[in-house]
């Protein structure tokens, strides 16, 4: 089983929401280029037991166009926001998600790129 963030990127790639890891989707850090990018972060979660962890993920869409950033974030949000309890990110990783809010504007950087994001609580295996 791969790293959780990579599994998120794989899921989004398979859904044609991004082109691929290191192309327009990045993990843990936003590179200077390209302007249009999706970044996936993990932050503090909670312990459940030795097999299962409550983890916290942030997904951010960046673009020079605020509309495109928002639309991308919304499209990713919609891909997770289904009525099924369990989501298979990959063949070897399933998780139960609790989306914490709809996409919202986070910031505008010094290159006038707009960031829209949302946060998810994810119950899944500890890596």
């Amino acid at each position: 089983m791969a790293d959780l963030l990579l599994d998120f990127v794989t899921f989004m790639t398979n859904k044609a929401l991004v082109k691929g890891d290191g192309i327009d989707a990045f993990r843990d850090a936003a590179p200077e280029e390209p302007d249009s990018a999706v970044i996936v972060y993990e932050y503090q979660g909670t312990y459940v037991n030795e097999d299962l962890a409550g983890r916290s993920i942030q997904i951010v869409a960046r673009d020079k166009s605020a509309t495109k950033a928002k639309e991308k974030a919304r499209a990713i949000f919609n891909s997770f926001n289904n009525n099924d309890e369990k989501i298979f990110l990959t063949a070897t990783r399933w998780c139960v998600m609790s989306i914490r809010q709809a996409p919202f504007k986070i910031k505008v950087d010094n290159k006038n790129r707009v960031y829209y994001g949302f946060n998810i609580g994810v119950n899944t295996k500890c890596d």
């Binding site: 932050y43 503090q44 942030q58 986070i106 910031k107 946060n119």
Partner: protein, 143 residues
């Protein structure tokens, strides 16, 4: 021939009503305690440069005795203006809270969400203890 029995449980009803009032009081006390604990933890984590964001921290409990809502957040207390940037705290608090890549000499991102999530396990105990304290001495027994 008949036997009649008078049942008067009005005293018991009165004690129940008194108990409900005490549960409400205990719940509100616990809510206040939880807000104060979470806010204290949050203020230990909020990034500080001019202290503007920290000064905007607040909590309030809205509503009536049986149905109330607790709100904990930033951007309150008159929404102070950052003296370095001239920007009100409410306009940059989201960016500071959500930017996981920012490096802060003091504090960190998710300075509100993390304390709230950390308190989740403690919350039932806080409420149970507060209600238990209020209910001490209730239902002492009949004459």
């Amino acid at each position: 021939m008949k036997v009649s029995m008078k049942v008067d449980y009005s005293a018991f009803v009165q004690e129940c009503q008194a108990a409900i009032s005490k549960v409400q009081r205990g719940t509100k006390k616990a809510t206040k305690a939880a807000c104060e604990d979470i806010l204290k933890d949050s203020l230990n984590q909020v990034p500080r440069e001019t202290d503007t964001l920290a000064k905007s921290a607040f909590y309030e409990i809205q509503g009536s005795y049986r149905n109330f809502t607790a709100i904990i957040g930033y951007g309150g207390n008159g929404d102070p203006i950052n003296p370095k940037t001239g920007v009100p705290s409410s306009e940059y608090m989201v960016a500071v809270h959500e930017n996981l890549e920012a490096i802060h000499p003091v504090g960190k991102a998710k300075f509100l969400e993390d304390p709230v999530n950390s308190y989740t396990d403690k919350l039932p105990r806080t409420f149970a203890q507060s209600v238990r304290d209020e209910l001490k001495g209730v239902f002492k027994g009949g004459k």
